[in-house]
């Protein structure tokens, strides 16, 4: 997107009409919780930012499957979101550019340069074996890379893209030999938490979520630049460092099958008539009720469909430590973790329903046995060995003391 070409010319060249762009601005305003009166503001902010110069960005990677990058590059044809994401100039992207000397220099050029930049981090921080569970071609580790970038005074914010970057994702699933962890947790541990982190959880993260953050930053930036805007975004996150407007509702809240849930119309078996009728898949292990994300509204692959709409369940990929928590994915969530209370004990978690039901059964059986014992000891009914008379005597004394009969 060169400065010699206007933003709208650039759109036109990529087959996107001005009408498409305004439609995109309308839907982005909706995601951001803004009214349609903000659409012209959004359009001018995006166009203005595109024409006033790009913000350098580093797309760094840790332990991951490249799914988040794949998700972002997924477009089968250029769409508006791609063009908005072009507001970031990805000077370095570990997974999508050719590796080697020039890639390293490009990255160095950003963090040693004099322009403010942001880092998009994809994947878990690999702390196992002193960081040697993820080694670069030049034998430096991913932790070394992070160290260099974090000490740059021009780093304005980190966008943790996807669940691995947020909390370690599947990379940190038990037994986690690679020591995978989320970037925010790692920075706090290393005392490098001076740079704000914006978490975009999910496996993978969605390009729409990244787009929404970029657009929000444009709106909030005091001088209309992404650099100041991204800091304003980071100042208004929820307690898990997520943009509030993106993660304030569960999948269940806006699921198109919610009506079937309320009506008690459930799928109990795949291949059944109930499934053909698109009834609610809650009994099949859907994690929608505890997963905060906007999949039903954003949908995937250019808003074609999403997990539940295509007949599956929500596996809760935007919840913390989702692999350990939610596996088996096609089963109901039945365990609570005990590792944080009793480290090393019950690593697979406790099934509170099973244990409590078993305990209730044991108590009921014990009471039955106790009842037989009470009967055998002659303590039941008329034979009860109760000291009624002594208690009555005590009562009479108290009544007398109170001045009664």
């Amino acid at each position: 997107m060169g400065s010699e070409m206007t933003f709208y010319e650039n759109l036109s060249q990529r087959g996107v009409s001005r009408r498409d762009f305004l439609k995109f601005c309308g839907s982005t305003a909706a995601v951001l919780g803004l009214s349609s009166t903000f659409v012209p503001t959004l359009a001018s902010k995006i166009a203005g930012a595109a024409e006033s110069g790009l913000t350098p960005a580093i797309w760094a990677t840790g332990g991951k499957c490249t799914g988040c990058l794949e998700s972002t590059l997924q477009a089968t044809y250029p769409n508006v979101a791609d063009i908005v994401l072009d507001l970031l100039t990805l000077n370095y992207s570990a997974a999508s550019m050719a590796t080697g000397k020039y890639a390293g220099e490009a990255k160095k050029g950003v963090y040693e340069g004099d322009r403010p930049f942001i880092m998009i981090y994809e994947g878990a921080i690999m702390t196992g074996l002193g960081g040697n569970t993820l080694v670069n071609a030049d034998k430096t580790t991913s932790l070394d890379d992070l160290e260099h970038v974090m000490h740059s005074p021009n780093l304005k914010a980190i966008i943790a893209m996807g669940q691995c970057a947020v909390d370690g994702g599947w990379t940190r699933a038990f037994p986690n030999p690679a020591g995978g962890m989320g970037i925010k947790y790692y920075l706090e541990q290393e005392g490098l938490d001076h740079v704000p982190v914006v978490n975009l959880p999910g496996c993978p993260a969605s390009p729409e979520e990244l787009t929404a953050v970029v657009v929000q930053a444009l709106l909030l930036g005091s001088d209309g630049t992404l650099e100041t805007g991204i800091q304003a975004v980071a100042a208004d996150l929820d307690r898990l460092n997520r943009p509030k407007y993106l993660y304030n509702a569960t999948i269940h809240d806006s699921c198109p099958r919610r009506g079937h849930f309320e009506n008690g119309e459930f799928v109990h078996r795949y291949g059944s008539d109930a499934e053909k009728k698109n009834w609610c898949v809650y009994p099949m292990g859907c994690k929608g009720p505890q997963t905060y994300r906007r999949c039903p509204m954003m949908r995937w692959n250019d808003a074609q469909s999403w997990c539940v709409e295509s007949g599956g369940i929500c596996i809760g990929c935007a919840t913390w430590n989702w692999v350990d928590n939610n596996a088996p994915f096609k089963g109901r969530h039945r365990r609570v973790g005990a590792n944080n209370i009793l480290p090393g004990v019950w690593k697979g978690g406790i099934n509170p329903i099973g244990t409590a039901a078993a305990l209730t059964g044991v108590v009921a059986a014990a009471l039955v046995a106790h009842g037989f014992g009470m009967k055998a000891a002659g303590r039941c009914g008329k034979n009860a060995t109760l000291k009624t008379e002594e208690m009555k005597e005590y009562d009479r004394k108290r009544l007398k003391k109170q001045g009664g009969a």
Binding site: G264, W320, G337, D395
Partner: protein, 217 residues
Amino acid sequence: MPGKLTKRSTHPFFVFTHWVNAMAMLFLTISGLYIAFPIINGFMGVARGTHFFWMFVLLINIIARIVSMFFIKCACEQGGECVEYDYKNWFPQKTNRHQMWPMIKYYLFFKKDYPITAKYAGLQKLAYWLSIILTFAIAYTGFALWGPTQDWIIFRIGNEIVGSLFGFGGGDGLMAMRLIHHWLMWFILIFTCIHGYLANIYGPSASRLIFLYKDKK
């Protein structure tokens, strides 16, 4: 439940609140189990409606019961003539003193005679207070899950703590809270089993009094 009961042992208002408690727990348990295990189709809306309705009924009822103990008098001893404000029966009394251990020994068959005790034995009082705490705890976890209230700071803090303690490494804690809500229901069921057993092991008079307000003939 030792001793001969008289109508002074309770009060019609306590009979009423006991009925409401029993009904609320029954409906909350059945509807809650259906919400967790919707094994037959067609009742989720009804189950959720029932659950929310009886949840408010139970809370109002339990608060009314606690407040009323400061205004309603009933017998200090089972079968006794002396009446006092009911709250005195709920707190440790002179006749409870040094009776906890003998009571445990009695129920474990290490002691033959039933210890002299107040209207409610020490263990009984402990269990009743525990049941109130359990009810408020389950209500708290329920509100932490309920959409309209889960974002209130008092419930958000709870979800945060539960998420970090039980959520396999932090996060929202919503599912851990749901499982704890379910777990507490089982503890209330355990209390109910023990309560029902001990109330009836010496005969049906206690149940006749608290459910029918009928004295032993």
